[in-house]
Structures are given as structure tokens and as C-alpha cells.
Symmetry: C2
């Protein structure tokens, strides 16, 4: 049996009782390290907290392992109970559909333990979840690669008065250029896009349009470390949020569509004054 | 302090460790009874399970109480720790923004404990959450009231190739007609829309259009009791799902947009064969 267990967004105590029970009964415990390093395992302390609470040794499964070495995880699951821990919900912003499909094809029973994900926890700012349009991803621009496919999606959402959740790029375990040239495994340091960078990239793409659907006066909500004790949530115009230091990752951004009075009332608690 | 604590979707063991700790430390514990009666409190047993696990007496706050008598909950929170338990996430499909706004205006500190909601748990069927458009609600039709505003929203989502989550009507503690006439408090028995009724209403509205954006051949996914041990998830055409008995509530329905191959692979595990 393969248990895929959502850990929620904050710390080790965001696991559900059901999740904790499953972990305790599992023979082997993996944790995806792609986004989880931040909240749970950036320091050895973070991981120890988890291991102490769960009473289990946890094997960190980095991006490579999940994508390329999933066979190990799956073969373990064939004749024993294995837990695969993921930050947020197993099918939230980062999805694990591929692992589930492979497991099911091998005849392994899969059990999902749900938890909060960024996709629903953003509801805390007061914007109704059912008033969101398609979610967009903002990738890091490079000198030569400045993809702008998010613009059209935001445009469609804005035209319908819907809010847009922007997920910001995470670069973990990217092979370095040197590594690619020499055939050695060397990685760039991890990079997490800030709200500031996201807004600058958004504005660059918007300003290239004759009638942009958003400008630096467009109202947004910035979220940092959503769901953790020191989360930071600020509502304001792009030009305001661009200047704010939101601190440590992860960040995400919501571009506000048409609002109802109750949404406005709630946003007011988060609005920056300047 | 007012804690608003998400209970998740299944049973009493879907609470997080953080949520359980908060409940244990609270002076008074309320639970919203609007949607929660189903999973947690339909029987006295359900409620007892919660009370036993949490070690607290729970006051059921029905729709009337939450909307009209929130003052009691709030005044309790002024000088003691109060927990307000909600099914799913505090800001999921059923929102509690109003309660939070009122609390904050009274200077009460509010803490949110997130959990899974239907809005992210539907990810289990394999359709990517970021490929959903605006969520729609399907209300019970009556002889004289057949609102079809959901149609246009589905149309827009379909035109963009996006999936549509349809939340199905729940009628709990509706005053009976007799009650309204006589000024006595009498309620209709609770009603929860089934997937079958939802599809019939959807098709009725679609068939009135010259070029409907969906027909009985449109692929959908039906979810019953999502997140609980006996959840039922079936993918198929509307005409197929219309004939299936999904059993006890709650039900919801997803109208599938344009899919990627990995989404299709995952859907295959849920497809009905007939």
C-alpha cells in the first residue's frame, strides 16, 4: 500500500491524526523535497522535528528521485506499507498524479490523506475561492527566455471579473551550466521567486501591451509563508507590493478581480497604508 | 481569541494536530451544523465521536445561530478562547468570512487552522486544479424558479478548455411554507442535491440552447462523500452518470474541459464501463 499524505502548509503539527496514524504504521517513509525543504526540512532541525514527532526515519526524495527513481518507492510499496509525504495536499499546487498512475498500473493500492493546500488556504484573505479563474504560473525570466503565456490567462480572468492566483517559480536542484558541460552533478543554489520579482515581470509584460489588463495600480494580495505561524498577507496596488519585503519564501500573489462588499471588508484588514 | 478550525472532509480523525491542540485549550467549542451534520453529526454517534476525541462538549451552531446569533459566539471570544469548528477548510466552499470580519471589528484576535476542502480534494480525480475555471453552484429548481446563471459560467470555462466544479445545493433548516404562514418555527427536512438531479437540471438548461456547450455526451466526474472512507468517484458521460446511484450525500460534479494525457490516464481509473 502506498499512502500519499498531505502535511499541510505550516509545520509538522499540521498533519492530520489520520495522516500521523498512517505514517506510524508504515514500514518506510519518504518525503518529497521539492517544495517541502522550506517549511519542514531546510535545516536538519526541521527534519528532526518531523522524525521525532512521527517516530520514523524519513528519506528525503528530491526531484530527481521522485521523477527518475520512483521505481524504488513503488517496489517498496508492493509488499509493505510505504508513506510518501508531501507539503500541502497531495493534489494541490504541486501534483503527484504521475506517481499515483504508476502505482495503480503496478496494482499497488493507493490511499490519499488530504490536507490544506495553497489553492484553498488563500481563501484567508477574504476573496471567495469560487470567484477565481484559471491559476497561472510565473516562471523566472532569463536574458533570452521571457515567456508571457500567463498574460492571456490573466486577461481572460480579468475580463470575467475573476481573481487570479499566480504561483511563483521554484528552482531547486537545477543542474548548473558547468555541470551540464562537464557531465558532473552540480546544482545551482535553490531560487524562490519573490512577490517583488513576480510583479516586475508581470508589469514588464503588461507594459508591452497597448491596453494592458493590469497596471501598477491594479490591486493584488501578496502571501508569504501562507499557513505558517509567521505568514504575511498584504493587499495593495502592484506598485505598493513591489516595494514590500515579504521575507523568506514561499511567496504567491493574487490579482484581484471584481469584488463583493464582504470581500472588500475582509481585504481591508490586510491593506497596506502608505 | 477565536479559533476557526477546519475539520477536513472525512471524520473526526481528519483534524490536524494543531487543530486538536487548539480545541483542547478552548473554553467553549462551537461547530457549524450547516454542512457538517453529514459527516460529523447526523447521528448522535457522530457528535459523540467528536466530543470523545476532543474531550470537549460541542455546541452545534446551526445556520440561524451562525448568521443571526454570532454575537454569542463573539462575545464569548472577547475574554476567553473559543473554537468554531467547520467542515473542510474555514475558507473553502462554505465560507465564514462574515464571522471573521465581525470578530476583527470587535478587536477579537482570530486564528485560522486550515484543512482540506472540497476545492482542493477534487484533485484526486487527476484533473489539475490550476486548470479549473470559475466554480458554479447548482440550486434546486422549483416549479417557478429555474435560475440558469451557471450556464454562462460553464460556457466560458468550456470555451477556454477549463474544468468546472459544480457545487450542488444543500437545503438545511429551510422554513416550511406552513411555518412562514403561521409564524411558527417549522423546518423542511434537509435536502442535498444528488449528481443525478444536478445533471438533469444541467441538461434541461443546455437543451434550451441552440448550440449547447455541453450535452449528455459531455464527460464529467461525479464525487460522493469526497474525502471519507467510502467516497465514490466515477468519470463518464452525463448520460452515464445520470443513471448511477452515488448513495448518501454530499455530492459534487466536475464538468471536464480540455485534458492532458496524464489527466486522461488518471481519469481512466475512475471511468465507468457500460
Amino acid at each position: 500500500m502506498l499512502y500519499i499524505i498531505g502535511l499541510g502548509l505550516g509545520d509538522e503539527r499540521d498533519i492530520t491524526l489520520k495522516g500521523l496514524e498512517a505514517v506510524s504504521n508504515c514500514h518506510k517513509v519518504y518525503m518529497e523535497a521539492y517544495t517541502s525543504l522550506l517549511s519542514f526540512g531546510l535545516s536538519t532541525d526541521g527534519l528532526s522535528n518531523l522524525e521525532k514527532l512521527y517516530g520514523k526515519t524519513i528519506t528525503l526524495a528530491d526531484r530527481e528521485m521522485v521523477e527518475e527513481k520512483a521505481d524504488d518507492i513503488l517496489s517498496d510499496s508492493l509488499d509493505a506499507d510505504v508513506a510518501f509525504l508531501v507539503v500541502g495536499d497531495p493534489f494541490g499546487a504541486t501534483t503527484h498524479t504521475d506517481l499515483v498512475v504508476r502505482a495503480k498500473k503496478m496494482g499497488i493500492e493507493v490511499k490519499i490523506v488530504h490536507n490544506a493546500s495553497v489553492m484553498n488556504a488563500i481563501g484567508i484573505c477574504g476573496l471567495q475561492l469560487y470567484r477565481y479563474g484559471e491559476t497561472v504560473s510565473i516562471p523566472f525570466f532569463t536574458e533570452t527566455w521571457r515567456p508571457d503565456s500567463f498574460y492571456e490567462k490573466i486577461q481572460k480572468n480579468q475580463m470575467m471579473g475573476l481573481h487570479t492566483l499566480c504561483l511563483l517559480d521554484i528552482r531547486v536542484k537545477e543542474p548548473s551550466l558547468e555541470s551540464l558541460c562537464r557531465g558532473r552533478k552540480l546544482y545551482e543554489p535553490p531560487r524562490y521567486m519573490t512577490i517583488n520579482t513576480a510583479i516586475e515581470q508581470l508589469l514588464e509584460i503588461g507594459q508591452a501591451r497597448e491596453y494592458p489588463v493590469y497596471t501598477e495600480d491594479t490591486e493584488c494580495v501578496g502571501f508569504a509563508r501562507l499557513g505558517s505561524e509567521d505568514q504575511m498577507i498584504v493587499a495593495g496596488a502592484m506598485r505598493q507590493l513591489r516595494m514590500i519585503d515579504f521575507g523568506a519564501p514561499l511567496h504567491c500573489l493574487v490579482i484581484i478581480g471584481k469584488t463583493h462588499p464582504l470581500e472588500e471588508e475582509m481585504l481591508d484588514f490586510y491593506r497596506c497604508r502608505d
